[in-house]
């Protein structure tokens, strides 16, 4: 039982850490909380407190790093649009092409339902 909790805790902590460095960092809160719960569960379930001391500490450490990183990013990251220069150039080029094509096209004021 405690082994299972410990493994689940490890998986959740690693997942939280991975998610925390991706742009989907907000989702890292879910595995981070799960990792904390599993870590605590392992602590409570194991009678011999010394047995899994090191691995549990590692789980907590990873989770705390993930949480700090996620919280920092949530507060300080602003959503900005990246470089759109290429798209704008393409758009201008497309508009020129389209206008030329529309010149040749017969525009009739047809109504469609």
């Amino acid at each position: 039982m405690k082994k299972l909790f410990l493994i689940l805790g490890f998986i959740a902590a690693i997942l939280a850490l991975i998610l925390a460095v991706t742009p989907l960092f907000k989702i890292a809160f879910i595995p981070a909380i799960a990792a904390l719960l599993f870590g605590l569960l392992t602590l409570f379930v194991s009678k011999d407190k010394q047995q899994y001391k090191k691995p549990i500490q590692l789980v907590f450490l990873m989770t705390i790093i993930a949480l700090v990183l996620t919280t920092y990013k949530t507060v300080y990251t602003e959503s900005e649009v990246g470089n759109t220069e290429q798209m704008e150039q393409k758009e201008e080029q497309l508009e020129e092409e389209s206008i030329q094509e529309l010149e040749d096209l017969e525009i009739d004021e047809l109504e469609i339902e």
Binding site: T22, P23, L24, K26, I27, F29, I30, T77, S79, E80, V81, G82, N83, T84, Q86, M87, K90, E91, L94, E95, S98, I99, E101, L102, E103, L105, I107, D108, E109, L110, E111, I112, E113
Partner: protein, 259 residues
């Protein structure tokens, strides 16, 4: 005279149905697209819908443009630069030319439709870059129905409908040409709701969107769009159900509106 008056009213209402009285040039709507998982919102991209006037030597047309751009934090992972545009008649919103230029995480594709409403055909051009850098071009002529539109025009056309005349539960079908195929989109009025948006508290029409014979959008009433219940009928919020979590589109700003 007794007969003419109702006839006149009938005719004028028919004409106003087909006329564009909502969309003007110079309008710009900006949205934030986000992914929602258990209440944790992740901003993905900025979506804009813009209109402008385009002049040719013979006529003046309305250009409807929609773009989707991922936020800079995503650009290294999955960069999206999508451009959809349609050149339509400013009076009736009839599409003449449609361009779609997409770049989604390295996948590039260009589509162009030239509408010929008299012959009910669309000549389409598709361009895709090959792995070796050369360009693969496919030209096709597609037969369309009398009421087929492209994607962008359909979006704007929905805003131009007389929704205030519809009853709750009413639905209407639209035929959309996408990837050289005609797809039927069904819009159903679910009712009215008041939403808190970036533009303030707005009373909105709640419309459900579903696609016939396609499984892109899941669920029947899970894909919903909210249009303001005023003359502008701007979409302020949209929700889409996907496999895990849901996608959201929220309005950020709106400028150049008619009313």
């Amino acid at each position: 005279m007794k007969f003419i008056l109702p006839l006149l009213i009938l005719c004028s209402s028919y004409i106003s149905n087909a006329q564009n009285n909502t969309i003007v040039a110079g309008e710009k709507l900006t949205y934030t697209a986000s992914y929602n998982m258990s209440g944790l919102l992740n901003d993905l991209a900025q979506v804009t819908m813009e209109t402008s006037e385009v002049k040719t030597s013979k006529s003046t047309l309305l250009k409807l443009k929609c773009t989707a751009t991922t936020y800079s934090k995503w650009d290294n992972f999955f960069k999206i630069r999508d451009l959809y545009e349609s050149y339509v008649s400013p009076k009736t919103l009839t599409p003449y030319l449609y361009n779609r230029d997409i770049n989604e995480g390295g996948y590039e594709k260009f589509m162009k439709y030239t509408f010929s409403h008299k012959t009910k055909t669309v000549s389409s051009i598709m361009r895709k870059p090959r792995a070796d850098g050369s360009i693969w071009e496919v030209k096709k002529s597609v037969k369309i129905g009398g009421s087929t539109r492209d994607l962008v025009t359909t979006l704007y056309h929905i805003r131009n409908l007389d929704i205030h005349k519809a009853n709750v539960g009413d639905s209407q079908n639209f035929t959309v040409l996408f990837d050289n195929k005609e797809t039927v989109v069904r819009i159903k009025l679910l009712g009215k709701e008041t939403l808190n948006t970036a533009l303030g508290r707005k009373e909105c029409y709640k419309l459900a969107i579903s696609l016939n014979n396609s499984n892109v959008l899941k669920g029947s009433n899970d894909n919903v769009i909210w249009l303001t219940a005023d003359e502008n009928k701007i979409p302020v919020y949209a929700k889409f159900k996907i496999a895990v979590g849901s996608g959201e589109l929220k309005i950020k700003s709106a400028t150049g509106l008619k009313y």
